[in-house]
C-alpha cells in the first residue's frame, strides 16, 4: 500500500473500501486534465463531459480491484483513452461550422477573427486524423507525455507511438501548411 495518505494511489484504494471523500478528492484533483484531454480529442463540450463523467465512474467501479502496481495517472489515462476511442467509433467527425466559440479577451477584432479562424482550421485538421493518431497528438502536445506514457495509455508500443505521431504530424502539416502564416 502506498505510504503517503494523500497520494492518488492511496486515495483510490480508500475509494475501493467505500471512502467517498477520497473519491471526491480524486475528482477534484484530476478533473481539469481529464476534461482537457477529452475536450481536445472530441472538440465538443457535450461529448467531453460524457467522457469525463464515465471515466470517473469507471474508476470508481474499478477501485475495489485496483492494486498500486501502475501509477494512478497511467491507469486513468488508459481509461480516458479507451473512452475517447470508443466515442470516435460511434461519432462522425465534427463539421467546421459547429466548432464552438471560445472566449477571447483580446479587444482587437482582427486578432480575434484570426485566432478563431486558426482554431477552426486546427480543429478540422485534428478531426481529419485517425482517432489513435489524434489521441497520440493530444497526449503529446497538451499533456506533454513521453512515448512510454502514451504507449501505456494507448496500450501499444513506443515504436507504434512514434509512427502514430509521425503520420499524424505529416497529415496535420499537409492540411495546415496550405494556410498562410502557419509555418
Amino acid at each position: 500500500m502506498p505510504d503517503c495518505p494523500d497520494s492518488d494511489e492511496f486515495l483510490l484504494q480508500a475509494t475501493g473500501r467505500g471512502d467517498m471523500a477520497a473519491f471526491s478528492r480524486i475528482v477534484e484533483r484530476h478533473q481539469t486534465w481529464a476534461w482537457r484531454v477529452a475536450y481536445r480529442f472530441t472538440g465538443t463540450e457535450e461529448d467531453a463531459s460524457d467522457i469525463v463523467q464515465e471515466a470517473f465512474l469507471r474508476l470508481l467501479d474499478a477501485s475495489g480491484r485496483y492494486r498500486p502496481t501502475a501509477k494512478f495517472r497511467t491507469y486513468f489515462y488508459q481509461i480516458i483513452s479507451r473512452l475517447c476511442l470508443d466515442q470516435a467509433k460511434r461519432k462522425q467527425p465534427l463539421l467546421l461550422e459547429t466548432v464552438p466559440d471560445t472566449p477571447d479577451p483580446s479587444p482587437d477584432i482582427t486578432d480575434t477573427m484570426m485566432r478563431r479562424e486558426n482554431a477552426i482550421a486546427v480543429r478540422a485538421a485534428l478531426d481529419a486524423l485517425l482517432p489513435n493518431q489524434r489521441l497520440a497528438i493530444v497526449l503529446r502536445y497538451d499533456e506533454n507525455l513521453g512515448y512510454e506514457e502514451i504507449a501505456s495509455a494507448l496500450e501499444t508500443t513506443t515504436k507504434a507511438v512514434e509512427r502514430l505521431l509521425a503520420r499524424g504530424r505529416e497529415r496535420l502539416r499537409d492540411m495546415l501548411g496550405r494556410r498562410e502564416n502557419f509555418f
Partner: protein, 168 residues
C-alpha cells in the same frame, strides 16, 4: 553521416526528445550540414504552438457534482448488493427481456381468464341430475372459484350455511 531519408525517419523522435544520445548526435550532425532537413525540422517544430493552444473552455459548472451524485448512487447500490448477498445480473434489466416477460404474463393471464369463464359456463349448463352430490365440493367450486360466472352465485354467508347444512 546519415542520409536525409534515414535522418528524417528519426526527426519526430528528435523533436520529442526521445532519441538515445548516439542517434541524437547523428541527427544534429546531419542537420548542421543539410538545409533541407533543417527546414523539415522547423516545420515540425512549427506545429507545437498551434497544437498547444489554450482554447479549452472551462469545465462545465456542475460536472463534478454530477459525477459525485452518480458515484454516490452506484456506491449505495453496491452496498445494498453486498448486504443482501446477491447481485442482480445486468441482463435482467434489458428492455427486450422486460417486454417479453410482460407479453408472456399478458398471454397467460388471458388464457387463464378464458379457461375459467369456459368452465363456469359449463357448470351453469348442467342438468339437475348431473349436479355433484358432494355439497362441500360444489360449494367450493361455486363460491370460491367462479369469479367469472355470468350471474352472481350467492354470498359468503350462503356458502357457509350450505356447508353447515351438509355437516349436519
Amino acid at each position: 553521416m546519415w542520409s536525409c531519408a534515414k535522418n528524417r525517419k528519426h526527426l519526430n523522435a528528435y523533436v520529442d526528445g526521445e532519441l538515445p544520445d548516439r542517434a541524437r548526435r547523428e541527427v544534429e550532425h546531419h542537420l548542421s550540414g543539410c538545409s533541407d532537413c533543417a527546414l523539415e525540422l522547423d516545420s515540425l517544430r512549427g506545429l507545437a504552438p498551434l497544437l498547444r493552444n489554450e482554447d479549452v473552455p472551462p469545465i462545465p459548472a456542475g460536472l463534478s457534482a454530477r459525477i459525485l451524485a452518480e458515484a454516490a448512487i452506484r456506491q449505495r447500490r453496491n452496498m445494498v448488493e453486498k448486504t443482501s448477498g446477491r447481485k442482480w445480473p445486468e441482463f435482467l434489466f434489458q428492455l427486450w427481456l422486460v417486454r417479453g416477460a410482460t407479453t408472456a404474463a399478458l398471454v397467460v393471464g388471458l388464457a387463464m381468464g378464458g379457461w375459467m369463464a369456459w368452465t363456469s359456463q359449463r357448470s351453469s349448463d348442467l342438468e339437475p341430475w348431473m349436479t355433484v352430490a358432494n355439497t362441500e365440493s360444489a360449494a367450493r367450486s361455486i363460491y370460491a372459484f367462479d369469479v367469472l360466472g355470468a350471474e352472481p352465485q350467492g354470498s359468503i354467508e350462503a356458502a357457509t350455511l350450505a356447508l353447515l347444512a351438509n355437516g349436519r
